[in-house]
């Protein structure tokens, strides 16, 4: 039988992906251009026995998501730049308390209110360093409606597997654009649930990492009772200022995402015509769509261009970006901001090739012509 297809908006695909992933809780607040995710979840969650709640503000929405997650639900919130700014304290809380959850950021222009109905990609550094303190970050940047669905599912998988908040960032263009989607059948995409707790309630320690960098998480409401705090804590969850414990916990929480095994698992990239490329377009989200078009046009003119598209933006694809910097004469970074990820590209390229940006923050998408002009200027 043919798979179910539909013409849907990116925000609708996101909600459908969340339901597919087993999300049963949404705590949100209206904000353009992400509101349709909430509206869709308000209709879908009751049909799967889940709960939708519209909270009093963005902070409340994030806190409710943390509470639901610690009580066993796969939990989601969706917002845009100003909402993420308000959630930042609790995103840090979810990091230190190691609480799985997914945060959708449908990016618009900024800072502050910026351009609510226009696209932007200026929250990509916020996704890495928005909350204070040292912490790891996972952020995914889909470029299409189909990929919004699959990356939302993957975000839940990574959140549950690594016991931490995962952000999915797509801009207003793909959030509001309608495209054909082919819905995966049940069972077609892998779904990951948090590791089961194997020790007895008496022996359970919520941050016991003796068996791995990611301690199993028990749920409130089960026979396991434990203490959760935003303070630095020991493996039993209780606050501590003991230097050796604080240091070890902080390092472990970063290592669990940034160790080579985890990076290999979390990182996801697409490459298009990079094999012999002399110019690499390093682009993500909807900017990558323009970049792919540019590659095709440049190839017609005999210019060896290729596209490197990170689908996982954080952790940063250091290894492959460094290899491409060695291979190519130039890397061009198109972004709908005034230059954010380009600094990471420069950091790992070590001066091995020319690096140039193509930036746009006027509310219009980057068009292929701008990118093509920059390539011709550089080579």
């Amino acid at each position: 039988m043919a798979k179910k297809t539909a013409l849907v908006q990116g925000n609708q695909a996101c909600a459908a992906g969340a339901i597919y992933a087993g999300c049963t809780f949404f705590g949100g607040y209206p904000i353009t251009p992400s509101t349709e995710v909430a509206e869709e979840m308000s209709e879908l969650l009751p049909t799967v026995g889940g709960k939708f709640i519209q909270m009093e503000d963005e902070i409340g929405a994030m806190a409710s998501v943390i509470g639901a997650s610690l009580t066993g639900a796969k939990a989601l919130t969706a917002t845009s730049g100003p909402g993420v700014s308000l959630k930042q304290e609790l995103i840090g809380y979810a990091c230190i308390a190691e609480t799985p959850c997914v945060i959708i950021n449908v990016m618009r222009g900024g800072p502050s209110t910026g351009m609510p109905t226009g696209p932007g990609q200026s929250d990509v550094m916020q996704a890495r360093w928005g909350t204070h303190g040292d912490h790891a970050a996972i952020a995914l940047v889909p470029e299409s409606i189909q990929e919004i669905f699959t990356e939302t599912v993957r975000a839940f998988n990574l959140a549950e597997k690594y016991r931490m908040p995962v952000q999915v960032l797509f801009d207003e263009i793909v959030g509001h654009m309608r495209e054909r989607i082919v819905y995966p059948e049940p069972g077609e995409l892998e779904l990951i649930d948090r590791d089961p707790v194997t020790v007895s309630p008496e022996d359970y320690k919520p941050y016991d990492s003796t068996k791995g960098l990611v301690p199993p998480l028990a749920s409130f409401g089960s026979e396991y009772k434990y203490h959760v705090t935003g303070l630095n804590k020991a493996d039993d969850g209780f606050p501590t200022t003991k230097a050796s414990l604080v240091d070890a916990e902080e390092r472990r929480q970063i290592d669990k995402v940034e160790c080579p095994e985890a990076r290999a698992d979390i990182e996801s990239n697409e490459e298009f015509m990079t094999e012999d490329a002399e110019v690499i377009l390093w682009a993500y989200g909807s900017s990558a769509r323009s970049a792919r078009y540019a590659v095709n046009e440049l190839r017609k003119e005999g210019i060896k261009a290729g596209l490197f598209r990170p689908i996982t933006l954080w952790p940063f694809p250091e290894k492959r970006t460094a290899e491409l910097a060695n291979q190519a004469k130039a890397i061009i970074v198109p972004e709908m901001n005034l230059g954010q990820m380009i600094h990471e590209v420069e950091r790992v390229a070590l001066g091995n090739c020319a690096i140039e940006g193509v930036f746009r923050v006027d509310g219009d998408p980057l068009n292929p012509g701008q990118i093509i002009d920059k390539v011709k200027e550089v080579i």
């Binding site: 209206p30 509101t35 909430a38 509206e39 009751p46 519209q54 009093e56 503000d57 209110t113």
Partner: protein, 305 residues
């Protein structure tokens, strides 16, 4: 001193200070109230706004206002007003401006901010005795993002995030009571459809110092689902059915300024709007209709006793 200038609708200005042609929806009940309010406040005002429909009043390159406008963050308008008021006082104390150059500090937000995210900042501003006027245009939902539920959404209404069979199962937050419990200098409910009552209250608020707060019912053709030309009628019905009691509290003493007398059944009001259509079609939701009527009856019975 307490003598009002507004005895009938003929006493209201026919030349409005607020410029025409704003980006508000046709038939906006909030704008209807703001017209009257601004005429009385006058040009010497500075508006402090939080995200909402009226954020769109001033869009490049036009503004309908004659003075300055500060659009601050969603939760923070009364806190922003604190800074503006204090800095104006500094200028006055240093005689860098004269009293004739002083400005009224006016907070203007929708119900999303007033009933929810901005409530803490309002509570603190009242507690500090901030000399300001707060105007909440209450269209009972997040109008600017497509009418999702807010803390002001009434029992039984459907919104973009509440499509349940019986509509919203909870109750509209009693913001008047919450604000009045702080015992500010003045708090009142108003409606643009009752302009004389509205004008008298703005006049009274302007004569007082300290925190003065108005909650204006803002019938919303776009979010509530009715023809824009019916805005005045919808507002009048809200009052006539007893759903929107017009009242004021001065230092905690509550007075109903225009009690409806023999109240019309709430159905008369509910039937005018798509957001309540599910209570009548495909079959009457007697239970929910009864609950709405009962709430109104209980409210007025308590007052009338």
């Amino acid at each position: 001193m307490n003598e009002t200038h507004f005895h009938s609708i003929k006493d209201l200005s026919t030349h409005h200070l607020l410029g025409a042609g704003t980006a508000m929806c046709a038939g906006c009940g909030g704008l209807e109230a703001l017209q009257v309010i601004y005429d009385i406040l006058g040009e010497k005002t500075v508006f402090i706004n939080a995200a909402g429909c009226m954020t769109l009043l001033s869009v490049y390159p036009y503004t309908p206002f004659r003075g300055s406008w500060l659009y601050t963050a969603m939760a923070s308008a009364p806190a922003g007003a604190q800074g503006v008021r204090d800095a104006l006082d500094i200028l006055l104390e240093k005689q860098l401006i004269g009293t004739d150059e002083d400005l009224q500090t006016v907070v203007l937000t929708g119900d999303g901010s007033a009933y929810g995210m901005g409530l803490s900042a309002t509570s603190a501003a009242i507690e500090r005795g901030l000399d300001f006027l707060y105007i909440c245009y209450d269209n009972e939902g997040y109008g600017n993002t497509g009418h999702q539920s807010s803390g002001a959404t009434p029992h039984g209404a459907r919104t973009a995030t509440c499509r349940t069979v019986h509509g919203f199962s909870g109750d509209k937050k009693d913001l008047f009571a919450i604000w009045a419990a702080h015992r500010p200098a003045y708090v009142a409910t108003v409606a643009g459809a009752e302009p004389v009552d509205l004008a008298r209250k703005v006049e009274k608020a302007c004569r007082l110092k300290g925190p003065r707060l108005l909650i204006a019912l803002a019938p919303c053709p776009t979010g509530w689902g009715y023809d824009p030309q019916e805005t005045v009628q919808v507002g009048k019905l809200a009052v006539a059915c007893g759903l929107w009691p017009l009242k004021e509290a001065v230092q905690g003493k509550i007075v109903h300024t225009k009690p409806p007398g023999k109240r019309l059944p709430v159905e008369t009001y509910l039937k005018t709007q798509d957001r309540f259509a599910h209570l009548f079609e495909p079959q009457r939701d007697e239970q929910t209709l009864h609950e709405i009527q009962e709430r109104v009856d209980i409210y007025w019975r308590e007052w009338e006793e």
